[in-house]
Amino acid sequence: MSDKKTKNVFIQGAISSEFIGDSIAKHQTKTSIGAHNIFLGQVRADVVNNKRVSAIEYTAYEDMANAKFQEIRKAAFEKFELTCMHIYHSLGMVNAGEICLFVFVSSPHRKTVFEALEFIVEDIKAHVPVFGKEIFEDNSHQWKVNN
């Protein structure tokens, strides 16, 4: 229902370490920044009833999710003195050990990035319609539950 253009936060498959490194490099021209804080969610090979998680398959209600990410961005920029903020989330299969969530905030000062990053990550976990299906090595599955 919103007319706002919303950026697509989703990436197909895992988020690579090169992508993260490149994203860091792009901030070297922004010389008012004194502190970056980065959160990375990585798929854990949890063992449940002797079966090991080999991957998580992510699906999302994409339109609503992108709108929610946009709302979270807006709220964070209003609440904290941030120079920039980037959010990326995987869709589809992400293997254990690979990265599925990348949240990156930058500010002149460190106190700001610590507060902002935790606020944003908790908001994403609670309010963005993304669904993780944990695939076990025997191809059975269970639906991930956040806590």
Partner: protein, 77 residues
């Protein structure tokens, strides 16, 4: 009125589909859910939220869209 219903996550295992349509002549979301509970009885035992126009709504909300989305607990990140 034909209403499109979308399902996500574990709910798709109850409905065996990602979307369907139902014929609806009521006013409130709760009435629409009653129809879905008849069609998919085990939906009653599942925790989920309903979105209309990309906003979470309660059963007391009036239907004002021809697309409704059923969302199980979020588990991103």
């Amino acid at each position: 009125m034909q209403i499109k219903i979308k399902y996500f996550g574990m709910l798709t295992e109850i409905t065996n589909c990602q979307e369907g349509t139902i014929d609806f002549s009521g006013i409130y979301i709760s009435e629409l859910l009653e129809i879905l509970y008849v069609k998919y009885p085990s939906l009653k035992n599942k925790e989920f939220q309903v979105a209309q126009n990309q906003q979470l709504v309660s059963g007391k909300t009036k239907l004002n869209s021809n697309e409704i989305v059923l969302l199980p607990p979020f588990s991103g990140g």
